[in-house]
Amino acid sequence: MLIELSGVSKIYNQGRANEVRALTNIDLVVEQGSMVCLKGPSGSGKSTLLAIIGCIFPPTSGRAAIADRQLARLPDRFLTLHRRETIGFIFQRFNVLPELTVLDNITLPLLPLGVPPKERKERAQQLMARFGISHRAEFPAGQISGGELQRVAIARALINNQPIILADEPTAHLDTVLSWEFMEIMQQLQAAGKTIVIASHDPLVFEHPAVERTVTIKDGRLHAS
């Protein structure tokens, strides 16, 4: 298995008056090349679980391993390195930098890796051609449409060829057509061998035929898969 969570709990502000138990004793296994949807209402703990899988922060207790390595528990200097090699993120609002061009946004994750400019551009051009946004390469990201923005975010998540793609409510700000288009792209990526975990409460996502398994989270606990 690629992702293995065992007895994972997350408590924010532990021991303080404003303590919040976000996750309780989560067990989850995601096989390589599969697509899993984390379903649940707002505040159920989906994003927290995604953040633990994505090594944004460690669990309060329990084991969260990616390819048998507990990435979130690595010392800081290793964590950043391994996270950017292993995980691609697609955020709810896509989090592109509006002043930068589409090309610069997509190549951004390669800058700290020291990839030469020529190679950065070549890799970005391949992805832009794949997602049909080559004609927008030199446009500032703030001036393109929502659908194009979504594809920029996906291209940026794939630029370093990470094996795992995590998406947090990716269709929350998209219409039905664009949401469907997003899921089509995810299906293509899954077919190409990527492991995909999507947190969403959009039926269009968790009912999509490409989604192999839906995991429901409620009040920080895992329910029927």
Binding site: S6, G7, S9, Q14, P58, P59, T60, S61, G62, R63, R73, L74, P75, D76, R77, F78
Partner: protein
Amino acid sequence: MLLNPWSLALTLCSLVVLMLGAVAGKTAARVLRFWEPGSDTNRQIRLENEIWLSSTLVAYGLGFQIITLILFVLAADQFCQVIVGAMCATGALLANPYGMPALMVKLFGVFFYGFWILLHQLDIRSEHYPLVRIKYLALLLVLPMLVLDVSLQTLYIAGIKPDIITSCCAVVFGETTGTTTNLLTTGYSQQGLLVVFIGSIVGLMAMGWGLLRRWQAGLAGLYAAGWLWYFGLSLVVIINVISSYVYAMPYHKCPFCLLKPEYHYFGFALYGALIPATFFGASAAMAGLVRGKTGLSGVVDYYQRFAVKLSLMLLLIFSGLSFYHYLKYLITGGEG
């Protein structure tokens, strides 16, 4: 003397370092008791987060404490202006019984604190936390030294009385024998000392070169011991031989006046090469002791080669500086 700006700066720095040390000491006790690598418990995960911050703060704190050696000598040099009889840091440090011990503890502290920082630096270069237990055990051993360091420094500063008459360096490091204040090591011939000094330099160079060609643990240990010997020898040679040539005065043999502006702060360059060279020379072998820990072999190998190269480079600089005034005197015959 506690309200003097130098005293305030020193005391404040040391108190902050001591406070960081106390906080880290608490972490150390928990690490030694509860550290379980591989465990997924809440306590272990919290400890992993805690040691990251705690170790970083201690590393900076100890680094700062190393710098207080320079501050301490500079402060003593300033104090001499208000102490009757003192002409430089020598007199100021002998103004009460705590000055010289404080200096000695600070000097040894450079190595102890430095070794801890080295352990920390090696530890954070592996993703397996291989030295956490050793590092925190070492911290518990370093902490009493830190307390002693700060205590002696405070006792020294608080105990300075401007009306107490002390001795100047000409007396302390003078040729007059039979006085209790004379710190000069007499009885050695300058030529004899120089021969041993040059022999030691050649020996260290040969051992360092040998280590760079083929690393051997035994030779590394010998190299470290050689550096500790050379450090002590160098201090004797600086006092007995080098200083007179720097001052161009045969009877002036003070190791502290070298730091004064009238001698172009020559002492800072001299000690600034000798102390780090000794540290890197000795630490190359020390690092080898943890080479077998998970994920550290490559890191230690790299550090050992780096440390030997750096110590050899600093040895060359120190040797050049040591012989500069001596050779200048021989070539010019003392003119110009």
